[in-house]
């Protein structure tokens, strides 16, 4: 089976945030470099901020691409991580509750994060960047499946 991916809007949202932060970074590094060491300092600051932005762009892209989730017969599989790969398997019967959150940036892009909670606090099953309608559907589906297969502690 194929892993399902977060909405491409998540990548758009991440890039927007990255762009805004890098603009601020560019201004700070460029101006402070320029004030301290004149023109070469300013150019150096701008160059450094560009390098930083490019690096984080690649890292963010890798992270975005690493997210994936898979609904199987009896469990949900979530994978993530660029440098440190993580894969979490949660049986539907073990879900205590499902939680849908959307921050300000998420709402701007009509996105939401679905998080599964089990009785174990270490469980870390989170799917970010779903379209809010998809997130609501997934939440309802998970809740139904969880109820159908619920088992006691």
């Amino acid at each position: 089976m194929q892993y399902r991916r977060p909405s491409p809007r998540l990548w758009l949202a991440r890039q927007t945030v990255l762009g805004l932060t890098s603009l601020v970074l560019l201004a700070i590094l460029g101006v402070s470099g320029g004030l301290l060491w004149g023109l070469p300092g300013g150019l150096g600051g701008i160059g450094a901020s560009l390098v930083l932005t490019a690096t984080s762009w690649f890292v963010e892209r890798g992270r975005y691409r690493s997210w994936g989730y898979l609904e199987r017969d009896a469990d949900l599989v979530v994978r993530r991580g660029l440098l440190f790969h993580r894969l979490t398997v949660v049986p539907f019967g073990r879900m205590q509750f499902v939680d849908v959150t959307a921050g300000p940036v998420d709402r701007l892009f009509d996105l939401a994060t679905v998080q599964l909670h089990t009785a174990a606090s270490a469980t870390d099953a989170r799917i970010p960047g779903l379209r809010s309608t998809d997130a609501a559907q997934l939440r309802d589906r998970l809740a139904t499946l969880g109820e159908a297969r619920a088992s006691g502690l």
Partner: protein
């Protein structure tokens, strides 16, 4: 509504108060503190008018403490209806607690020193939850009532008739008190103290050779502060040892048809019952300084949140199978609660040799084993620990790998249960094997849940 003061009707569904002496048992200590603090400052007062003011203040504080306890006793009532324990409490903020007994994780009877003198005990019902108010506490009942309440709550928790008498427990294991004391004193932290002593000794040896007065001054200052650190450390370790001896003295464990019975305590007696099927994990640990003697500690995990820290509850409620036992006894105990699961693993479950590059120190302890009912993993460097998890309790399975592990084609596998303390970790497994294990364990766990042994 008539409130009976004898406890028996509460089990039949009539609202009851707690034992009339409970305000006394609850306030004796705080009253003592108030009076002692007051008298200490009283002796510092010179003028007679100042003394009078102080006396009045002490009396008022004492009256307040007693009144609060009495009011709390007056407004608290409890009963058992159907298979639910109900507690109503609070004067200003009314609180109504309902505990479905089928969800009960454990029932404890605790008797602190003051309550023991008065012949009282507290019944504590533990359910799986997140809030620190999740425990149903009945403080206090008389000893017989506490035993009766516990028997009935456990019977109800098992879905039996409420009148089912508490089944007799078969003694399983008893910890030797001498060994307990020795083991409590053998803490790894002593090594740190030893290092500090060595540093202090070196400083003291170097110091007299120092020629300049200023140098000598500085050297002896450092030595003094080191010595005081050492003394503090020794006192803290001694207190810690005394606390664990006090908590686990006369540790006995019995096997009853409805669960494991634990009795322990020197000043404060505790009787805990863990229903079968509530055990989320079993852990066997061998601390560094115990290994020469071949001792081990066996712990149990049930689904419960550690309580507020200031009460030290998390520590007190640590469920133990044995605070200290020989390795053979520990293996035998594990076999009693987890039949078929090995308590210590052989090297046949070891990760591939290349895992040594990732975990050079702990490699010779890493191991994992599973059948269709249990998963056993072994980890640790100075304190090797074996965690045994019943597969029907698995909450989630996690697979992770960092750059180094991936370069070695290895992965870490972690199994979570609802017990919040330990995670069964099969570290540095071959990546393909780990991926296969994820699927396999998932299937086995869902089968184990359906069979529910």
């Amino acid at each position: 509504m008539p409130l009976a003061s004898s406890q028996a009707p509460a089990l039949a569904g009539t609202w009851c108060r707690l034992h009339p002496l409970s305000p006394v048992a609850r306030t004796v200590i705080s009253l003592g503190v108030v009076v002692a603090a007051g008298l200490t400052s009283l002796s510092g007062q010179q003028s007679s008018s100042g003394q009078t003011v102080y006396m009045v203040a002490i009396a008022a504080a004492a009256v307040l403490v007693v009144a609060a306890a009495v009011v709390s006793w007056l407004v608290t009532r409890w009963r058992v209806v159907g298979d639910e324990l109900q507690i109503d409490t609070g004067l200003v903020y009314r609180q109504s607690l309902r505990f479905p007994l089928r969800r009960v994780q454990a029932v404890d009877v605790v008797a602190p020193l003051t309550a023991r003198i008065l012949g009282l005990a507290e019944v504590r019902v533990v359910s799986a939850g997140t809030g620190h108010r999740q425990h149903g506490r009945l403080a206090y009942l008389s000893n017989q009532d506490a035993a009766a309440v516990r028997a009935q709550l456990l019977a109800l928790a098992h879905g039996l008739a409420a009148e089912t008498p508490e089944p007799p427990a078969r003694p399983l294991f008893r910890v030797d008190n001498g060994r307990l004391i020795a083991a409590s004193l053998l803490r790894g932290a002593w090594l740190l103290v030893l290092v500090l002593v060595a540093v202090a000794a070196i400083l003291a040896a170097v110091d007299p050779a120092g020629a300049g007065g200023a140098v000598r001054q500085g050297g002896s200052d450092a030595a003094t502060s080191l010595i005081s650190a050492v003394v503090t450390g020794i006192v803290a370790l001694g207190l810690d040892a005394a606390r664990s001896v006090n908590g686990d003295f006369d540790f006995t464990i019995g096997q009853a048809p409805d669960g494991l019975r634990l009795h322990r305590g020197l000043l404060q007696k505790r009787h805990e019952t863990i229903p079968y099927g509530r055990i989320q994990a079993v852990r066997l640990i061998q601390p560094l300084l115990w290994r020469p003697f071949g001792w081990a500690r066996v712990e149990l995990d049930v689904a419960r949140q550690p309580e507020a820290r200031h009460q030290g509850e998390a520590r007190q409620l640590a469920h133990l199978l044995a605070p200290v036992a020989t390795l053979d006894q520990a293996r035998w105990l594990v076999a009693q609660v987890a039949p078929g699961a090995p308590a210590t693993l052989t090297r046949s479950g070891a990760p591939p040799r290349r895992a040594w590059f990732r975990a050079p120190l702990s490699y010779h302890y890493l191991s994992a084993w599973h059948d269709d009912r249990w998963l056993v993993t072994q980890t640790g460097r100075v304190r090797p620990a074996t965690v045994i998890v019943p597969l029907e309790k698995v909450q989630s399975i996690r697979l992770s790998s960092g750059p180094l592990l991936r370069a070695l084609h290895l992965a870490n596998l972690r199994i979570d249960t609802a017990g919040r303390r330990w995670v069964a970790a099969a570290l540095c497994r071959d990546a393909d094997e780990a991926t296969a294990l994820v699927g396999q364990l998932g299937d086995l766990a869902s089968r184990a849940r359906r069979i529910s042994w």
